[in-house]
């Protein structure tokens, strides 16, 4: 790498975070623009509503602005921001008194297989947009666990810690979420 190339390297997230903590609003704006889509996507997937996701994205960056001095660089900035975003969404669920229920979803009909009635046709490859749309139709409790596990890649131990539930509950909710998604996707393609 030449000296010129080194000089034109964009600042790292850590450098921008440090500059932001020191009051550099230009640095904070760069961080915002760099991570806006990732934060919005996570909020949207967890909330299933674009207006709420927009408001939450603003809340996340407001919170980030106030807390950025506490980022020590011990983990990757994206990991730290991801956790901060998940926490903000969960706090939002609690504030609006619609915290996802992590027990049996009322009104959800358990999936049962009656031999001879199950359509043996396998689902074709799912369009990503169709899955995205189906996720928004999940009940909140199912959606949260599905997004955290299958989309964001957290394991059940982490999810149990984040949501304050048992690992068994996390596993059970994930299984129900997948079955519900299958039902939604099949209805969409019927």
């Amino acid at each position: 790498m030449t000296t010129a190339e080194v000089e034109t390297q964009p600042p790292s997230d850590v450098e921008l975070a440090r500059a932001s903590a020191a009051g550099d609003t230009n640095a904070f704006e760069q961080l915002y623009r760099r991570h806006f889509r990732r934060v919005y996507a996570l909020c949207f997937r967890m909330l299933g509503n674009p207006t709420e996701a927009e408001d939450l994205t603003q809340d996340v960056f407001t919170h980030l602005f106030n807390k950025i001095g506490s980022f020590r660089g011990e983990s990757a900035f994206t990991t730290w921001l991801h956790r901060l975003t998940v926490n903000q969404v969960l706090m939002y669920f609690r504030r609006r008194s619609a915290r996802p229920e992590f027990t049996t979803e009322e009104g959800e009909t358990p999936v049962q297989i009656v031999r001879g009635t199950e359509n043996p046709n396998k689902m074709p490859i799912i369009d990503r947009i169709a899955l995205e749309r189906a996720i928004t139709q999940l009940p909140p409790g199912y959606r949260t666990v599905f997004v955290l596990h299958d989309v964001e890649g957290h394991d059940h131990d982490e999810i149990a810690h984040i949501l304050g539930v048992s690992e068994g509950t996390s596993k059970s909710q994930l299984h129900k979420a997948r079955l519900k998604l299958r039902q939604i996707l099949r209805q969409q393609t019927a």
Partner: protein
């Protein structure tokens, strides 16, 4: 054939978190039960597509980031 019992195990089967003995029992059931095998295929398709979504952000319609930045600037006095 107790499909309900095996249905409960399909997510764990899909995630590879079953012990060897249970996994073998599920495999045996799947070999002789078309509906359960179809469900497993569908769950697996959902999980694989979800993994793609992790790095895929183009399937979402985004609001104007400039508008949110302005709202953020006004509410927190992040003004240059």
């Amino acid at each position: 054939m107790d499909c309900a019992k095996y249905l409960e195990l399909l997510s764990d089967y899909c995630d590879g978190t079953l012990d060897d003995e249970t996994r073998a029992l599920v495999q045996m059931h799947l070999g002789e039960c078309l509906p359960c095998d179809g469900i497993l295929h569908d769950l697996d398709t959902i999980v694989r597509t979800a993994v793609i979504l992790r790095s895929e952000t183009n399937s979402i319609t985004y609001p104007d980031e400039q508008i949110i930045w302005q709202r953020l600037s006004l509410s927190k006095q992040i003004i240059h």
